[in-house]
C-alpha cells in the first residue's frame, strides 16, 4: 500500500544527510563539551559549528542562539524568562489566540504568578491586526508574543509590523517560528524581533533539538539552572548529536529553501483542487499568505477523527483540529477564535506537505479523499444543511 505522509507539522522525517552528520557524535565523539581534553573540545567545536549554521539560516549572530531541547522549551523559556526578568517594570503580557499550547499554557502560568495576560483576537483568516496590538498595550506591558505562522491553519502573521510597534514602545517582542524556520526564509534582523523560537524536527532535523534566538544584550531569566552551558542561560550537558543534526539540517534548509518551497507550493496548489471535486469543503486560514506546503480544510457534515481513521487505513496520514481527535475533547481554539462554528470545526482536516512528497502522492489523495468524505456523509444525519429534528441539549463533555 502507498504510504503518504501529509503531517509535516507534527514532525518531519530525518534527512539521511543529517543522520550521517549526527552519527559520529553518538559513539566516537562522545565527549562532554566542557571537558578540557581533545574529546571535549571536539564536541564543543561541533556545537559551535552548529550554532553558526543556525545563525546563518536566520541571519543572526551565533552568540545570539541558545540551544534547547524543543520548540516548546524555547517558547516557555522566552515567555517566562522575559516576563520574570522585567517584572519590576510591569506585569502585563500580550499573546495572540493563534498560539501553540506551549505559549498559551506559559501565559496561564504567568497569570497564576500574578501577571495580567491579554489574548489578541484574530480575523476570519487567523490574522492578528497590528492595530489590536497597539490598542492592547498598557504602561505595564513588557512582552508581546505572536506566532510567525500557525501550524493549524498556515496563516503567516504580520510579524515585522508588530515588531515595529513593540520597538517603538520599548516592549520585548517574541515570535514562535517553529512552523516557519527552515520552511520559509527567516531574516531576524529584517523581522526586528527580540526573541524567536525554532525546532529542528520541523525542517528534517532530529527531535529533541530546538533553539531560542535572544537578541544581543537582552536579559533573560534561565528556565534550567546548573552549569555554565549556553553561557549559563541553559544548563545541562548538551545533546551533542541532536545539536549537530540541527545545524546540518539548518544548513541544508538554507541551501535548498527555494527548491523545497517551490516543490511543496506546487503540490499544495494541486491538492487544493479537492475543493473542485467535493462540495461543502472550505479552506481554513489565509488563502494566499500561508505556509507553502499547508492545506487545511473544514469538511461539512462529517467529523475529523473519522476522516483521519479512514485515511490512515488507506495509508494517508494527516491531522485534525476536531474535538474528538484531541485528547482534551475540545475543538481547536485556533479555529474557534477565527469565528468558525464549532460544528464546522469538527470537520477539520490538515494536510502539510514535505520535500519528499510526490505528484503521485497528491494524485492518490485526490482519488481517495472524496471517497472517504462520501462514505462518512452517507452515515451522517446531516447533508443538505445543519440541524435535524431532536438534536440539541447540553454537551456531555464540557470544561
Amino acid at each position: 500500500m502507498r504510504r503518504c505522509y501529509f503531517d509535516h507539522v507534527a514532525t518531519n522525517p530525518l534527512d539521511a544527510r543529517v543522520f550521517d552528520a549526527m552519527l559520529p557524535y553518538f559513539k566516537e565523539e562522545f565527549g562532554n563539551p566542557l571537558s578540557m581534553y581533545e574529546l571535549g573540545s571536539k564536541a564543543k567545536e561541533a556545537i559551535e559549528n552548529a550554532r553558526g549554521q543556525v545563525a546563518s539560516l536566520t541571519n543572526s549572530k551565533a552568540s545570539e542562539i541558545i540551544f534547547t531541547a524543543s520548540g516548546a522549551e524555547s517558547n516557555n523559556f522566552a515567555l517566562r524568562g522575559i516576563a520574570l526578568a522585567r517584572q519590576n517594570e510591569g506585569k502585563h503580557v500580550i499573546v495572540s489566540r493563534m498560539e501553540h499550547h506551549s505559549i498559551l499554557n506559559s501565559a496561564r502560568f504567568l497569570e497564576k504568578m500574578g501577571f495580567v495576560v491579554t489574548y489578541l483576537p484574530v480575523d476570519k483568516h487567523g490574522v492578528v491586526d497590528p492595530d489590536t496590538v497597539k490598542k492592547a498595550i498598557t504602561k505595564e506591558t513588557t512582552l508581546i508574543s505572536v506566532t510567525h505562522a500557525s501550524s493549524e491553519v498556515g496563516t503567516i502573521e504580520p510579524i515585522k509590523e508588530i515588531a515595529d510597534i513593540a520597538r517603538e514602545k520599548k516592549i520585548i517582542f517574541h515570535t514562535d517560528a517553529v512552523a516557519t524556520t527552515g520552511n520559509i526564509p527567516i531574516n531576524i534582523k529584517e523581522l526586528g524581533v527580540d526573541l524567536l523560537s525554532m525546532a529542528a524536527h520541523q525542517f528534517y532535523g532530529p527531535k529533541g533539538a530546538g533553539a531560542l534566538y535572544v537578541r544581543e544584550g537582552l536579559r533573560i531569566v534561565p528556565l534550567i539552572y546548573g552549569g555554565i552551558q549556553e553561557n549559563g542561560r541553559r544548563a545541562g550537558t548538551e545533546n551533542v548529536p541532536a545539536i549537530v543534526g540541527m545545524g546540518r539540517a539548518a544548513e541544508l534548509a538554507g541551501s535548498e529553501m527555494n527548491s523545497r518551497m517551490e516543490h511543496v507550493g506546487r503540490l499544495r496548489d494541486k491538492l487544493l483542487n479537492i475543493k473542485a471535486s467535493v462540495e461543502n469543503v472550505h479552506l481554513t486560514g489565509h488563502p494566499d499568505n500561508r505556509l507553502p506546503g499547508h492545506a487545511s480544510f473544514c469538511v461539512e457534515f462529517i467529523e475529523g477523527e473519522a476522516m483521519l481513521l479512514l485515511l490512515a487505513a488507506k495509508g494517508v496520514y494527516a491531522a485534525s483540529g476536531s474535538a474528538c481527535s484531541s485528547k482534551a475533547l475540545k475543538a481547536s481554539p485556533v479555529l474557534l477564535s477565527m469565528g468558525l462554528p464549532s460544528s464546522l470545526a469538527q470537520g477539520s482536516i490538515v494536510f502539510t506537505l514535505g520535500k519528499d512528497n510526490s505528484d503521485e502522492d497528491i494524485e492518490y489523495l485526490l482519488a481517495e479523499f472524496p471517497q472517504v468524505i462520501k462514505r462518512l456523509r452517507e452515515i451522517s444525519p446531516y447533508g443538505k444543511g445543519w440541524g435535524i429534528e431532536g438534536e440539541g441539549g447540553q454537551c456531555i463533555v464540557q470544561k
Partner: protein, 122 residues
C-alpha cells in the same frame, strides 16, 4: 487506540441509513460537542423488527451506533431498554476512557426512539 471490534464496526458499519416509515425516531447529541446519533426503529408485536442509524461523529461514535443496532434488532422493547452504555462498550471490547461518555450515545438514542414509538402508540 481502538479495539479490533470498534475498528470493524467503524469500517463496516451495520444498519446504516434512513427509515422514512419508522415507527420511532430517537436523536441524541449536539454537533457542537462532536457527536450526534439518530436511531430509527420499526416495531411489530412489541418487538424491534428493523433498525437503522445515522451518526455524525468520530470512529467510536459510529462503532457504538452500529453495535447497538445489532444488539437491539429482534429484541422486545423491554429487552432493548435494558441495553446500557456499559453493555455496548463491553460488546465493542472496550472504548478509550475519554470516549466512554461523549461518544457512547447509542443507548440514550435507542431509549428515545422507543419512547417516541410508545408516545405515538398509546
Amino acid at each position: 487506540m481502538y479495539s479490533a471490534k470498534v475498528m470493524d464496526h467503524f469500517s463496516n458499519p451495520r444498519n446504516v441509513g434512513d427509515m422514512p416509515d419508522a415507527d420511532g425516531v430517537g436523536t441524541e447529541g449536539n454537533p457542537t460537542c462532536g457527536d450526534v446519533m439518530q436511531i430509527f426503529i420499526k416495531v411489530k408485536d412489541g418487538r424491534i423488527v428493523d433498525i437503522k442509524f445515522k451518526t455524525f461523529g468520530c470512529g467510536a461514535a459510529i462503532a457504538v451506533s452500529s453495535m447497538i443496532t445489532e444488539m437491539a434488532k429482534g429484541k422486545t422493547l423491554d429487552e432493548a431498554l435494558t441495553i446500557s452504555k456499559e453493555s455496548v462498550a463491553n460488546e465493542l471490547e472496550g472504548l478509550p476512557p475519554q470516549k466512554m461518555h461523549c461518544s457512547n450515545l447509542g443507548a440514550d438514542a435507542l431509549k428515545k426512539a422507543i419512547e417516541d414509538y410508545k408516545s405515538k402508540n398509546k
